[in-house]
């Protein structure tokens, strides 16, 4: 089982195992270390912040620190966006939180429950969770992870120590990427590193995945060209292709691309619209005003998407809006000339 012992995805391989290994996030790590000195004093924790900033990594590092190599026996790791119903809370979480682990986990008298993407949990599930956190606080500790703390109900927030994670510093990220590449036997050209950093917008996980993919393209040196190729072939680029087609007025082609994305990559309408939003803000040929205007339109259709019956119709309608928008830009250019 050697294959399963050593992680092959670089994100996992280079995920820090202890708090000391964590790069950056100094303040948070210091506070957490203080808890670790006397684990009994550790409160429930709430980690909030954008994706890829180290929330899950810190949670897992805490588990390692508390329980050592057998951490998996004392930790329940649940992804709330996969299992977010009230049933999960009532069954799995409640059962796990109820039993004390004294005598098994050394001197740590509680089990650890890591709930990732908590902001995806339904309201009733959160309410149920609140009770469990209170009752089970002698036998278990929670680490709740979310992108937006505002989506977590107040009573839960008040039971937790809240830590906010900001985007990873660009320079630190760049150095980290080059360091990983070196350990894997590759030379990452600084320009290529910049490109990855820009593209991943402070999401370290995304950046490392791009890096690993680029390494599959070419032995030895990872240059800017290879990185561009990877970025181009990964799906977000298809989303960008779709947006461009629409903005240039080729609605039919844009829609075809949309169906390709849905059909071939299995993306849902909501996921596509979120990527559209993200991609629009990356597009350098649009002014800030234009982006804001488009964003407003996207918001409207994002809302309709949740109310409507057919996501592909809503996306098509959005693309039609893009086509109209693209045409109006074109006309205003023509006028100024």
């Amino acid at each position: 089982m050697a294959t399963s012992e050593e992680a092959l995805m670089w994100v996992e391989k280079y995920r820090p195992k202890t708090l000391d290994e964590v790069v950056g996030l100094k303040d948070i790590v210091e506070s957490l270390k203080a808890f670790m000195k006397n684990p009994k004093t550790m409160p429930h924790l709430l980690f909030a912040g954008v994706p890829g900033t180290g929330k899950t990594t810190l949670a897992l590092a805490i588990a390692h620190t508390l329980y050592g190599p057998n951490w998996k026996s004392f930790t329940l790791e649940l992804n709330a966006s996969d299992e977010r119903g009230i049933d999960t809370v009532r069954d799995r979480i409640k059962d796990f939180s109820r039993y004390s682990r004294t005598g098994f986990g050394g001197d740590i008298p509680f089990a650890l429950i890591i709930l990732d993407e908590c902001d995806q949990m339904t309201g009733p599930a959160q309410t149920a969770l609140r009770r469990i956190m209170e009752v089970g606080s002698r036998t278990s500790r929670f680490i709740l992870i979310c992108n937006q703390s505002s989506k977590i109900i107040e009573p839960i927030q008040s039971r937790c120590a809240i830590f906010r994670f900001s985007r990873v510093d660009k320079q630190a990220m760049k150095e980290h990427l080059i360091c990983i590449a070196k350990k894997e036997g590759y030379t990452l050209v600084p320009e290529a590193a910049d490109r990855i950093v820009d593209f991943s917008e402070g999401d370290l996980r995304h950046a490392i995945n791009s890096l690993q993919t680029a390494s599959a393209y070419k032995e030895g040196v990872i240059d800017e060209k290879t990185v561009a190729l990877v970025i181009g072939e990964a799906s977000p680029m298809l989303v960008q292709k779709m947006i461009r087609k629409a903005l240039y007025g080729d609605f039919m082609e844009a829609r075809k691309t949309m169906y390709d994305i849905m059909g071939n990559f299995g993306f849902s309408g909501t996921e596509i619209i979120r990527q559209i939003q993200r991609e629009i803000f990356k597009m350098s040929d649009l002014t800030a005003e234009q982006k804001a205007e488009l964003s407003e339109v996207i918001g409207e259709y994002d809302f309709r998407l949740t109310e409507g019956a057919n996501t592909d119709i809503q996306l098509s309608a959005l693309l039609a809006q893009f086509a109209k928008f693209g045409k109006s830009i074109e006309e205003s250019y023509a006028e100024t000339k």
Binding site: N209, T213, A216, A234, G263, G308, D312, K327
Partner: protein
């Protein structure tokens, strides 16, 4: 004159002479032969065929030409044994006095006409068929019956004692000629294509064709092909394409509303097809965006309707209707995209979706991420890595099955 114009055209132009009855010449000849022949080989005749092809009309025309009395009973009357006996018995028991006086040419005597005999209900009209059989047996006057579907089980005994005369659908050119004649008499200016469409739509049913003509042209004495597109509704099975065509060529919101409220097409399929074809209808970006906005709103209402809030259906229709009439002037005929694009592109993904879910589950287990993140941030990259390095141990590490690996490698290659 007031009285005349109030009439349904079907009644107004119902032929008074046998020769004027449109179509079905063979059936006509057979029937008249039987009627004129005093020594009937069979005492009764059963005229059968689809509705509106002239069965009743022929009987009435024959009656007026040969001067006989028609004693009629149809489905609207109860036809239990008792009722049939009460009406039909006296009528069939005595031949008319006139027929003995040699004035038979003017008064053909009594004829019993039982219309819509296939409508004799099992329970309410208990014993009805037996009573008819008895009357046919004892009758001194000819008995004429008409039915749409002679194959009904309960009519089987009747068929044995009857001469069967089969009526067919009236041929389209004959109907068109008839409609043209009516238009001339009514002073309606009609496009030939419009009449052709009405005739075709009627599926050989003269009555419904005339009714359609009247309802469409009575008001302004003008009839264009456009008018007939909204008509599809009243007919038995309007094709999906016709509804689409009517939708896209509509001249006003009212047109479409009428079309949609009568049409029986599946709402969900129709919505998809409208969305699919919209860019072919509106080639101008601004028009398309506007129309799509309405379709999007219609879809929102469809979502709100769900499976129970059907009272919201009218808003769904309204939004669709608005989408159809963004700019009536820009309509140009085009060929439809069918079947729905989604069905073609996404239909087969259900099996794939399951595979993808399994893959994302395995990624999630190894990398501590949700399915969603796995799909967005891992799958696209792992796919590329596996494409570049097919022998990468990554597949084994994730515990992907060979099918899953194959799925990843081939995905995204259009």
């Amino acid at each position: 004159m007031q009285k005349q114009s109030d009439l349904l055209w079907v009644e107004k132009y119902r032929p008074k002479k046998i020769a004027d009855v449109t179509g079905n010449d063979e059936a006509k000849a057979l029937f008249l032969d039987w009627l004129k022949n005093k020594k009937h080989t069979k005492k009764a005749v059963l005229l059968y065929g689809p509705p509106g092809v002239g069965k009743t009309t022929l009987v009435m025309a024959a009656a007026s030409e040969y001067n006989f009395n028609v004693i009629e009973m149809n489905a609207s009357d109860t036809r239990s044994e008792k009722a049939i006996n009460a009406v039909a018995k006296p009528a069939t028991s005595y031949t008319s006095l006139d027929s003995f006086s040699g004035a038979a040419k003017k008064a053909g005597g009594n004829v019993l006409f039982l219309d819509e005999v296939d409508g004799i209900a099992g329970n309410e009209d208990r014993g009805g068929v037996n009573a008819i059989l008895k009357i046919v047996e004892e009758s001194l006057v000819p008995v004429i019956m008409a039915a749409n579907d002679p194959d009904v089980e309960k009519l089987r005994p009747l068929k044995k004692v009857c001469l069967l005369v089969r009526f067919h659908q009236v041929r389209i050119p004959l109907i068109i000629a008839l409609l043209q004649k009516i238009c001339r008499l009514e002073g309606v200016k009609a496009e030939f294509e419009a009449l052709e469409r009405i005739a075709q739509n009627s599926k050989g049913d003269v009555r419904s064709a005339i009714n359609d003509l009247q309802s469409l042209s009575e008001e302004n004495h003008r009839l264009t092909l456009q008018d007939t597109l909204t008509l599809s509704s009243r007919n038995k099975d309007v094709s999906f394409d016709d509804t689409l065509r009517g939708f896209f060529s509509a001249q006003s919101i009212a047109d479409t509303s009428r079309l949609l409220s009568y049409s029986n097409v599946d709402y969900d399929d129709f919505l998809l097809s409208v969305a699919d074809n919209l860019p072919k209808r509106y080639t101008d970006a601004a028009e398309l965006a506007k129309a799509f906005d309405f379709v999007s709103k219609a879809d929102v209402f469809r979502g709100r309707i769900g499976t129970e809030n059907w009272h919201l259906l009218k808003y769904f229709f309204n939004c669709l209707a608005e989408a159809s009439a963004v700019n009536p002037a820009s309509y140009k005929p085009f060929t439809f995209i069918t079947p729905p694009i989604r069905v073609i592109t996404l239909f087969w993904t259900k099996g794939k979706r399951t595979t993808l879910d399994a893959i994302c589950g395995k990624i999630g287990a190894q990398c501590h991420v949700s399915h969603q993140i796995a799909r967005e941030q891992y799958v696209p990259y792992i796919r590329l890595i596996l494409q570049k390095k097919p022998k990468s141990p990554l597949a084994a590490w994730f515990k992907f099955t060979p099918e899953e690996v194959n799925f990843l490698v081939t995905m995204g290659r259009f």
